[in-house]
Amino acid sequence: MPKPTIGLEVHVQLRTDSKMFCACPMEFGAEPNTRVCPVCLALPGSLPVLNRVALESTIALGLALHCHITPFSQFHRKNYFYPDLPKGYQISQYDLPLASDGYLTLPKESIAASFKKVGIIRVHMEEDTAKSIHGASLAHNVGYALLDFNRSGVPLLEVVSAPDLESPEEASAYLVELRAILRTLGISSGNMEEGALRCDVNISLDRGTRAEVKNLNSFRAVRKALEYEFQRQCERVERGEAVLLETRHWDEAKGVTIPGRSKEEAEDYRYFPEPDLLPLEIDVRWVEQVHRSLPELPEGRRERLASLGLHPSEAITLAHNPELACFFDGALEVGAPPKETANWLLGEVQRILHAGGKSLEETPLTPVRLAELLRLIQQGVISSKGGKALLEVMLTSDRPPAELVEALGLAQVSDPVQIRLWVQEAIAANPKQSEQYRQGKEALLAFFAGQVMKKSFGNANPELLDRILKEELQATA
């Protein structure tokens, strides 16, 4: 059975305030052709000026991927004609990418195969094209294309991995990890639906001739396309046919890849140094400064969280969700216990949010309040069950938890006299079950506990209840 060899080329849209070479604001979903100027429309006479923030973001990603940051870099013109490319060339990088020779570490638990390092060949900067919207006019029986130049000149990073990935699952894990790094650095939304992350894959069998598949716009598409392409290449080989060096396109609807142009007749991009921009001299001190100000990255975060006693899958989930991780750390800062915090944050909080279709930022819940809730449980003021009820309310109300406990009557009853009274009532009301218990049907303990909880509206201290219940059932014998 041949093994697939996979390499990914990921295009990342940076989340800067303005575009790569002009001052036009970046805004997803703005009215078409309203975020444009002479530069990004390529009007005659306009010139590019590099956005320094985009450059710094690239350096940050390069460092996060353990890359070498080149002290001297340059932009090149990549020449080709297409309506969405207003200058007739794309300003990109060619033989001097800003960052190269790094790696990304896949987490241990996300895939069965255990963790591995995936080589990063290069990270370079380039500008995005305009967006084409193709359509057809039924009235005139002709096709048409509309162009939205809001996207023209948006800064992009191209991240090229080494062909180190060996399964569609690994490719998927790589993308998830890369997105986590981008979000942790805060340089991209990493949102595939909005096109902030676009992926081309290269796949071959046992490092033979590769095919490139373009136009993959979701994690699912990446996995499905790789699975399909692996199958297709295997079948060709079985039939004794060679795999062709070609570019293929993923047809989402049909779930197949279809051939595009073959690489032999590929366009000659006639790269040459962009004379409108000065070569980049990257000051080592600047790189060091960016390095020092890097936030905790997913790789390190996973390790730290695991060392706090979190389950590896919890550590990974938090590391992949920088907002959640920050929330988690915030709760820990005010004294919340790590394991319980992770438990609640990833369990109950997510369940309720998911059911309500909301995000954490949209609720009044803060790390301090979650910590307070956990403390109330720990101190026995409320039961764990009461805690869940309280959390529901805390996600919509911004009243302090202690106040809510009172208002909702959630305080746990830990008075042994009261609990004993409920227990005695319950036994008296169910003589048959109490008899069966005494004859050895110990499972009925839960039945009596349930009866008492009903009476106490769920507020009876469960540990106390358990003890008193056993005592009373024995005593009636």
Partner: protein, 535 residues
């Protein structure tokens, strides 16, 4: 004040039409009319009106302008007069008629670059030089003719019209900034801007008997200049004398955050520097350049006389060599086309300009660009595309870049020993229409001496050194220019040396008789305001 001497110039056949007399004020240098404007002796409205009238009169014969912004210029003149009347700060060029080469963008104004592909295009924004001129108070009268996309040395490659040399209307004004040079020579405006990629300011300046300057690469912002070859293009100016030229360069130079290749250094006071003697500057004479094939013997002789004159003025002559400069032409004709092949890719008929519908997208591109671009532009795009193609890139484009470095080093070496280098501007005087259009290489030869300097990105100025009778055939004497080249950022030194020469030669006061039918007329500036009153 010195008076102006009028030399005979030749009317073109079929163009011998009686013109109205020019307002003599229009033939004065800017430095003589600006004080009159400042003193209120004449108004900007009067001056602009006179210039517009003269353009209406002379330009049908001359063809310097592609577009005259009459209403806009008059409105601006009115507002400047008003501002001045109210005692507001109006700028050093306030009220002065000037012109732009038609590859510089001005808001709401046509910018064609002399090409069909941009016919009807109006720029929605101002080039930085336009903003600077307007801030200085200049009144832009219009856009001047040029070789299509600045590719050419005679302005014959304009898709729209010929521009004639005011000294001999049967000859070309040079190019590619031929319209800008002719407009200043013929009294249509006082100053004009041109762009120089391989000699497109210096060569027409030489052909038209004007001073013209290309500054150090990066000294003037290219923002809003439609690109031909980005690593070579520089905006510069034409004027009637060196102080005017210094004033124009002062106005347009300086750092611009919109042009990444713009130099950050502050602009020195060029005009102030002209008041000082440059001292005993060492002037390098490149004997190997003078031996180049193609340099006309009579031009060489005039150049050598000028060199001798420089020595007489106290300059120290030194022999220098520029061993790689003779490779300038082939180097330039790889690098410039390579860059233009990308720069002109945006003219695709998608967003603006000409669009020729086709069967499909590819066909539409082909038709649009075949219809829109002239033969020379298409030739250079093809040469450039070829030079950058896989398999040829190393042999052509990259090799040319290496030679460019060697040429630059030649100048660096030479400037270790001298302060300036003097060269002829052009191998010959202005040629006749059609003389070189059939043979592109003979046309390219017109930039033999200007191209190496462009490749090195150095400041250079051409100034008239004499008028000589044409070598063959009959006709009036034609101007010959000399180039003074400085090290990077040495504009001040170049201007000082040129001014020194100009003061001693007095040639700047010559005007072509084209501007007036009364041969040998002498303008007396003392009487300017009186004459004004009579008209």
């Amino acid at each position: 004040m010195p008076s102006l001497e009028c030399l005979p110039s030749r009317e073109a056949k079929g163009y011998q039409r009686k013109r109205k007399m020019i307002n003599p004020l229009l033939m004065q240098p800017a430095h003589r009319v600006l004080p009159l404007l400042r003193a209120g002796e004449i108004s900007s409205v009067e001056l602009v009106r006179a210039a517009l009238d003269w353009i209406a009169e002379a330009d049908p014969d001359l063809g310097a302008f592609l577009y005259v912004a009459e209403a806009r210029a008059m409105a601006r003149a009115i507002s400047i007069d008003k501002a001045r009347h109210q005692g507001e700060e109006v700028g050093p060029l306030a009220g002065l008629p000037v012109a732009l080469k038609d590859n510089m963008c001005q808001r709401d104004t046509p910018t064609t670059c002399g090409s069909r592909i941009l016919e009807g295009f109006r720029s929605p924004y101002d080039a930085t030089v336009v903003r600077k001129l307007e801030e200085a108070g200049a009144v832009i009268l219009g856009k001047c003719n040029m070789d299509e996309f600045a590719m050419g040395s005679s302005t014959e490659n304009s898709a729209f019209q010929q521009t004639r040399n005011p000294w001999d209307l049967e000859r070309v004004p040079g190019g590619s900034s031929g319209g800008s040079a002719a407009a200043v020579t013929a009294g249509e405006v006082y100053l004009s801007l041109g762009s120089d990629t391989g000699g497109s300011i210096r060569q027409p300046a030489s052909f038209c008997g004007l001073p013209g300057m290309k500054p150090t690469y990066g000294r003037v912002s290219r923002y809003g200049l439609v690109a031909f070859a980005s690593s070579l293009d520089q905006i510069g100016a034409f004027a009637r004398n060196i102080p005017d030229l210094a004033l124009a360069m002062q106005t347009i130079s300086g750092h611009d955050s919109l042009d990444s290749t713009s130099l950050p250094e502050a602009v020195p006071d060029y005009l102030g520097a002209l008041q000082r003697e440059p001292g005993a500057l060492r002037v390098g004479v490149a004997k190997d350049q003078l031996a180049l094939e193609g340099l006309s013997p009579s031009v060489r002789q005039i150049f050598e006389e000028a060199i001798a004159k420089l020595a007489g003025l106290g300059f120290l002559l030194e022999e220098v060599t520029l061993p790689h400069a003779s490779y300038g032409l082939p180097t330039y004709y790889l690098i410039a086309p390579a860059e233009c092949s990308a720069n002109l890719a945006r003219f695709d008929g998608i967003r603006y300009g000409l669009r020729e519908e086709g069967r499909d997208l590819f066909d539409q591109y082909c038709r649009t660009r075949r219809q829109g671009f002239g033969a020379e532009v298409r030739r250079r795009i093809m040469v450039g595309t070829y030079a950058l193609s896989a398999g040829y890139r190393e042999a052509f484009y990259l090799k040319a870049q290496k030679v460019r470095t060697l040429i630059r080093q030649d100048f660096t070496e030479a400037f270790k020993r001298v302060d300036l280098i003097a060269l002829p501007t052009t191998p010959t005087v202005a040629f006749r229409f059609g003389e070189r259009t059939e043979d592109p290489l003979s046309m390219y030869m017109a930039d033999l001496f200007t191209i190496p300097i462009s490749l090195a990105g150095l400041p250079a100025l051409s100034l008239p050194i004499d008028w000589i009778p044409p070598e063959e055939g009959e006709g009036p004497p034609m101007p010959v220019g000399m180039q003074l080249v400085g090290p990077a950022m040495a504009e001040t030194r170049v201007l000082q040396a040129a001014y020194c020469y100009e003061k001693s030669s007095g040639l700047h006061d010559l005007i072509p008789s084209f501007v007036n039918d009364r041969k040998g007329l002498r303008f007396d500036p003392q009487q300017c305001s009186q004459i004004w009153g009579q008209i």
